[in-house]
């Protein structure tokens, strides 16, 4: 019996997986003896969605770009006719001999999947499939065969470090919460993935929700907590939906509730939806938000392990951290620390996005170089352009230039560049990306998301943003760079939480590595990347212009001349760089340089 599995994470659904699924459902219902249809989470190859896998025993074939029309062909030829359709849409294949093939097999072959072990393999809405894949064995072992100390020691030995970005040793964190006495303790899973450009946690939540519940159960036993919360972004409705199903199923099977798995231990949990505030990713702000207040960070100490949520001892970890835990308990600390580097063991999931050919999710051992991620797994830069930089760590991180592409990705090497490891968002930039503009972009984000508690963060980021906006408009002054550097130091020193302490990172790293671009904006009033609208020249590419006159009609200053069906020309002397021609052209003929 063949299994047809449709990738239905948010990325798949946005690419039209629902229509593909509906069509396959019709076909499968008409042929019930031949196949079984099911869904799965993100397979990782977001750039080839919608993805459909045909699985028979150990044989796996994944087709990419499957629309409701091409689903018919796959069904009749492959499912009914047993003929593998060997064209460009065959993205991945794996035979019973373990050999892999397909146009994108390198993308999957170069990964080590621990966190993503079930993502894209099992149906996230079925607890049975999770159990069949070895699910809840880690929790069973931890609850029935291990003491709290043994669990914490195992996690310590594995060397697992917090995957939310800071990289604090997880075992050590648990030992703090375990050491504090209290009748009520809490376990919190931080699923408030706020970095724009990062979607690892979303994929795990959508693709393997039980792994997170299991990780939390193990943690609860280790620190003797009886209640937990998953704080999830409201912007992830599918993740919340699948978590709700997972919690209900887990309760039914006795994995949550009282006397779970006959161990005499009680633990239950609840989802709390975030309401759209980046700062709530900071743990003390997250507690405030769960308590129903404005999500503003609190002064530490007291630390959460002592007085966290509702002033009770609390342990808070990120989604990916929890997803690692069951694997470590089942396979042992040594198996985990065999991956990665000495100080940063294990694997890390990265969300590759931006100007990279293969945008998607990739899990690799720590210590893999940026070059390997971008070129070997990511397939290089789109349209054959030049690799300029990667941005890691979102608004708290920084840009690492192409010349440093040999930097291994781990908790020691990345901070040395001025960026941060962050949660795993990796946005690739090419020659067309302006570094001043990207710094302005992140400052705009942090400035809006600053909760306003600390003056330097609230007002300092605004002053920095004003300077950067001036620069991108060509109104920069020579002393601006010095002002930016000074403000950066002040904001970092005088802010209470991670948001303010890291907000200047994007500016500092771009000044450090791309000072010439800043200077070009200030002294030459030019944007070398051709991105800052006020500093570029608009022109019409003769080959693409069909002479529809739309741009000329929309130009507010009559800078565009040309007759119907003839190539139009922009007079740079008259042009005010408003961009109206750029947004009105239906043929992509208006360009900037």
């Amino acid at each position: 019996m063949k299994r047809i599995i449709v990738g239905m994470g948010t990325c798949g659904l946005s690419a039209g997986a629902q229509a593909t699924y509906n069509r396959l459902e019709e076909l499968a219902e008409a042929n019930p003896d031949v196949c079984m249809l099911s869904r799965t989470g993100c397979i990782g190859m977001c750039y080839r969605e919608p993805l459909v896998e045909i699985r028979e025993g150990d044989n796996r074939i994944i087709y990419g770009g499957v629309t409701s029309e091409s689903a018919d062909k796959i069904f009749s030829k492959h499912v009914l006719g047993n003929e593998i359709i060997d064209d460009d849409n065959l993205v991945y294949g794996c035979g019973s001999d373990g050999k892999t093939f397909g146009s994108e097999c390198e993308f999957l072959d170069q990964q080590e999947r621990i966190v993503l072990r079930n993502c894209g393999i099992i149906d996230p809405e079925s607890i049975k499939e999770y159990e069949d894949a070895g699910g809840y064995e880690g929790a069973r072992k931890a609850l029935n065969e291990m003491t709290s100390e043994e669990i914490i020691q195992t996690i310590k030995d594995s060397g697992l470090r917090g995957r939310g970005g800071a990289g604090f040793p997880t075992g050590l964190k648990w030992s703090f919460a375990a050491a504090n006495e209290g009748e009520q303790k809490y376990v919190i899973c931080n699923a408030d993935e706020g970095d724009p450009g990062a979607f690892m946690d979303r994929s795990v939540l959508e693709g393997d929700p039980h792994a997170i519940l299991e990780g939390m159960i193990v943690c609860a036993k280790a620190i003797e907590a009886t209640f937990g919360y998953i704080y999830c972004r409201a912007e992830y409705p599918l993740a919340i939906h699948r978590l709700e199903i997972a919690i209900l199923e887990a309760r039914e099977r006795g994995y949550l509730g009282t006397n779970i798995m006959d161990s005499g231990f009680d633990f239950d949990l609840k989802i709390k939806q975030g309401a759209g505030a980046f700062v709530c990713g900071e743990e003390t702000a997250l507690f405030a938000s769960i308590e129903g207040e404005r999500g503003m960070p609190r002064i530490r100490p007291p630390f959460p392990a002592e007085k966290g949520l509702w002033q009770k001892p609390t342990n808070n970890n990120n989604v990916e951290t929890f997803a690692n835990v069951p694997w470590i308990i089942c396979n042992g600390a040594e198996a985990y620390s065999a991956f990665g580097t000495e100080k940063s063991p294990g694997t890390k999931v990265f969300a590759l996005a931006g100007k990279v050919v293969h945008g998607g999710l990739a899990e690799v051992p720590m210590g893999t170089t940026i070059e390997d991620l971008v070129f070997k797994i990511g397939g290089g830069i789109k349209e054959g352009k030049e690799f300029k930089a990667v941005q890691m760590g979102g608004p708290s991180g920084g840009c690492i230039p192409a010349v440093m592409k040999n930097t291994p990705v781990d908790f020691e090497s990345i901070p040395a560049t001025g960026a941060i490891m962050g949660s795993g968002g990796m946005v690739v930039m090419d020659e067309d990306t302006c570094m001043v503009s990207i710094a302005r972009f992140f400052l705009d984000f942090t400035q809006k998301e600053s909760c306003g508690k600390c003056t330097f963060c609230r007002i300092g980021t605004l002053r920095m943003l004003e300077i950067l906006e001036r620069l991108t408009r060509g109104e920069g002054e020579p002393e601006d760079i010095e002002k930016l550097e000074k403000l950066s130091v002040q904001i970092k020193e005088a802010s209470l939480c991670g948001l303010g302490q890291t907000a200047p990172n994007p500016v500092q790293t771009t000044i450090r590595y791309y000072l010439d671009e800043y200077e070009a904006h200030i002294y030459d009033k030019k944007c070398p990347a051709g991105e800052c609208q006020a500093l570029v020249e608009f022109y019409i590419e003769p080959d693409k212009c069909v002479g529809c006159t739309l741009c000329a009609k929309n130009c507010p200053v009559d800078a565009i001349s040309g007759k119907v069906k003839e190539v139009h020309v922009i007079d740079d002397e008259i042009c005010v760089k408003c961009g109206k021609c750029l947004t009105s052209c239906n043929f992509g003929a208006v360009k900037t340089r």
Partner: protein
């Protein structure tokens, strides 16, 4: 106050939640979320109800509402366009898409068109980075946009809305 709501409409989710409220701490944000789900935004009277039931002052509730970007104090258009402003979209030309939408609708980010059809907002990241640049219209995602394709998409929505009103007008 509590009694009024109890009998008024306890079958409706927001009212039911209010009615069910038993002083559990930390329930303010879920209450506001269900109010918004019910009304489409948080009207003054919802704040009033919540204050009456929870005992939290209206000004404190207002403080929480304005802190979180999810909450809205104004009604929204029939189609809410959320233009993604995440990093991946930014480097793939999200600004150009946003400006095209503003131009097409004649409004700026945060506004609603006069006919009440469209509201344009930005969102930090939808998480479909590989389809950048992306917008969401209500719950549908549209990716790999160009100025021309985004105009076409919006016009289709407008056409759909006009057709609907026409068919209603002709049947009545």
């Amino acid at each position: 106050m509590k009694g009024v709501i109890k009998t008024a409409a306890k079958n409706e989710s927001f009212s039911y939640r209010l009615w069910k409220y038993e002083g559990a701490p930390g329930e303010l944000i879920p209450l506001l979320q269900s109010a918004q789900e019910h009304f489409g935004y948080i009207p003054r009277r919802a704040i009033n109800y919540i204050a009456g039931v929870t005992g939290i002052s209206e000004s404190d509730i207002y403080g929480v509402i304005t802190f979180y970007s999810q909450f809205r104090l104004q009604p929204m258009g029939k189609y809410v366009i959320r233009a993604c402003a995440g990093t991946a979209c930014h480097v793939s030309g999200a600004k150009l898409i946003r400006e095209t939408i503003e131009d097409e609708l004649g409004i700026e980010v945060g506004d609603t068109t006069e006919d009440g059809l469209f509201t344009l907002n930005t969102v930090a990241c939808i998480g479909c980075c590989s389809l950048a640049p992306v917008i969401m219209i209500n719950n549908d995602t549209h990716g790999r946009l160009t100025p021309a394709s985004v105009r076409k998409i919006i016009r289709n929505y407008r056409k759909k809305a006009v057709e609907k009103t026409d068919s209603i007008a002709s049947t009545s």
